[in-house]
Symmetry: C2
Subunit: 421 residues, 2 copies
């Protein structure tokens, strides 16, 4: 089944907002087995929207439109789609009631807000269209069938669109597919994207069903294995040997097989399962590593504390780094990283401490230690491991790569010591 | 002048990557006074790309295409555009030389990489096109004129596209405009988007030239004032009264009038100008505030250290929060925030310490203190100010809003004490 996306909104054309809806919907369509051939962004302009909709309906079976369902005069997606497809707008009693009750609780929480007359425009729906409830706003979603396929209208705000898609549109499109689509995620860390692609070249080459799609994230590669079959059981069965093969090839570099699990989730889970507590001692990342650990709800169980020791003085005072080490080796050195990790464990009482010291730039680099040089230490119950990295990019990129690699180093160290036992 | 964007790449249609190029180019075009009416994303498919290009050239004066200029067989943007516009491809000696020298240094740094034959494809250019040097990669940019306007081809990787646009395309398009476009930024913090829009409704309503465009960021609103005139001096003069009016209306809530300056830049600058040193004591944000401060190159001048005291024990040990306070008032309380800020100053020796303690969720909320409740303390040379916030959204959003508001609270406290002197 083929499809395309239309995003309506002058604010996107002005670069005012990033079109994250398109990313979400693209990934969802890929998962549903819908091949998207076009995305179009068009402003809140009736003529151009009409032209775009006509073209899309003429060439694609599924057309998903986001935005332009609001209450203002500018919002004309529903009106335009109804006119293009020959639908009449009528008031939907159920939607009117839903909007009423939404406003009741809204006004209660926002005393100085008033509901204006034009809001009732949102209770009008194309007669015969499938109406999708919006639990996070007023504009309903709409599915309109026509001779060539279907048009799905969804509200623009991601906080309204995403839950509506998952609740109503995903199951609807899933049912439309002649086959069941099932996919399984394999999340890999510690190997570069090109290396992963090289390692599975043979699998990719001969793939048909299931398929393997690689998604590169910073410091990670996610592989989605997708099978089509007549039922889920069959599709699962088809994915199994591929997932088994990926596990055999990437081994401990696979940190998760779940869609929602992040690298920090996996690390916190690993620490908790081993009854280990953690401290983080950061210089150039300035708290980014601790912040990622705290991303995980319930991180308090494992994180004893974090130190942002950007200055030499703080490194000495908080982490007991020796004056001589800083003077002789410098703040960015293997020895300083080692002492930071050891001192972090000692002073916090944590079982494990990961330390980071590096040069994120743009200044501070030298010939021996250019911008991007980072040393990390990981102290595990008294033993300290040290690693040296050389990252490229601007200050932001270097710090992001450093943070991900610290999580990976931490995970590796725990896994290694786990094996030793 | 009107225009449109075409992004070429199957990876965008699959939701594999976010189309950040479109955001950048949209904002640039807005700044140049080019009205974009469409963005289209199309895959690496000759037929569909041809159709899309033809349509775009037929309806828009400026067509900017990104992606599909790489060395592989999939990359066919240049070939397709040349065929649509009737250009012949010829080898460009200058580009070939540039690619050679690029590879020389590349191979030196990446010993196990080889240059394959297909890379020389990138030295072919449409005969008569303007060739734009790529200082960060191999594919050159190209400007092709045709009877209805121009087509600009740019490489897909943002690290290559953006510098090329700024260096070569921006000045080119700027010259094409019959008028000079000049814009001035006004960055506001501490006031909500709808409040700002309300406050300038009258200015927006009567605007023609200059225009005011609001851009909402998390916790901030940026207003871009843009004037068109026959020369820059005239345009600057036209912006002046509007900027003056905005300054009068938003006063100290304006933290910057420079395009590139971030809120953390402004805060670090303010601290440095007052010779103040800073400490950060964070609980629910877990290092996000310190990390934003360290975003600023040279933050070491002001940041003494950061404490991530997620546990009660760390709050007591590092920040000297009283056991009785934690027991009676709880870790998320006005009194704990106050003691954290005071203790942070004392133990670090910093002039100013900002503290954060809150409930980011999803668990941990209660009737009295629901998820989103955050207390912050700011200790300024012994005086402690405390603020209570109630944020909504998921864990991530609550922590982001908390971090921005901590920066704003910090800034406000310094400005207030500055006035007192």
């Amino acid at each position: 089944m083929d499809g395309e996306l239309i995003s309506v909104g002058t604010e996107i054309l002005l670069g005012n907002i990033t079109n994250t809806n398109a990313v979400f919907l693209s990934e969802m369509c890929a998962r549903l087995g819908i091949s998207l051939y076009y995305h179009t962004v068009v402003g809140d302009n009736e003529g151009r929207l009409k032209e775009t909709l006509k073209q899309a309906c003429g060439r694609s079976k599924v057309v998903i439109v986001t935005g332009g369902l609001g209450p203002t005069e500018d919002d004309l997606t529903k009106e335009t789609a109804a006119s293009v497809l020959g639908y009449k707008l009528v008031e939907d009693a159920h939607t009117k009631k839903r909007i009423e009750s939404f406003f009741k609780s809204y006004v209660k929480n926002n005393k100085n807000k008033k509901i204006t007359e034009n809001n009732w425009k949102q209770a009008l729906v194309p007669k015969g269209a499938k109406v999708l409830d919006n639990h996070n706003g007023t504009a309903p979603g709409l599915i309109m069938e026509h001779s060539g396929g279907i048009v799905i209208l969804l509200p623009g705000p991601p906080g309204e669109m995403k839950p509506m898609f998952q609740e109503s549109v995903y199951p609807y499109l899933h049912k439309m597919q002649p086959e069941i689509i099932y996919s399984q995620m394999v999340k890999i860390c510690g190997i570069g994207e090109s290396q992963v692609e090289d390692d599975i070249k043979d699998l990719i080459k001969k793939q048909k069903n299931p398929t393997i799609a690689p998604y590169a994230k910073i410091g990670e590669v996610h592989l989605r294995v997708t099978a089509r079959a007549k039922d889920e059981k069959e599709a699962r069965k088809m994915c199994k040997p591929i997932v088994r093969e990926l596990k055999a090839r990437f081994g401990k570099n696979i940190y998760a097989a779940e869609e929602e699990k992040t690298l920090e989730d996996a690390v916190v889970e690993l620490l908790a399962s081993q009854n280990l507590t953690l401290a983080a001692a950061e210089s150039c990342t300035g708290g980014m590593l601790a912040a990622r650990i705290v991303n995980v709800p319930g991180a308090s169980k494992v994180l004893k504390e974090g130190f942002v020791t950007y200055s030499d003085r703080a490194k000495r005072k908080r982490l007991l780094v020796k004056k001589a080490t800083l003077a002789k080796e410098g703040a960015v050195s293997s020895k300083t990283a080692k002492e930071m990790a050891k001192g972090g464990c000692f002073t916090s009482g944590a079982d494990v401490c990961i330390s980071i010291t590096g040069i994120a730039g743009p200044d501070g680099g030298s010939k021996e230690k250019p911008v991007g040089t980072v040393f990390m230490g990981c102290c595990y119950k008294g033993d300290v491991y040290v690693k040296e990295f050389h990252f490229t990019g601007n200050r932001e990129k270097i710090r992001e790569y450093t943070t991900v690699n610290a999580l990976i180093f931490l995970r590796d160290t725990i896994l290694q010591n786990f094996k030793k036992k």
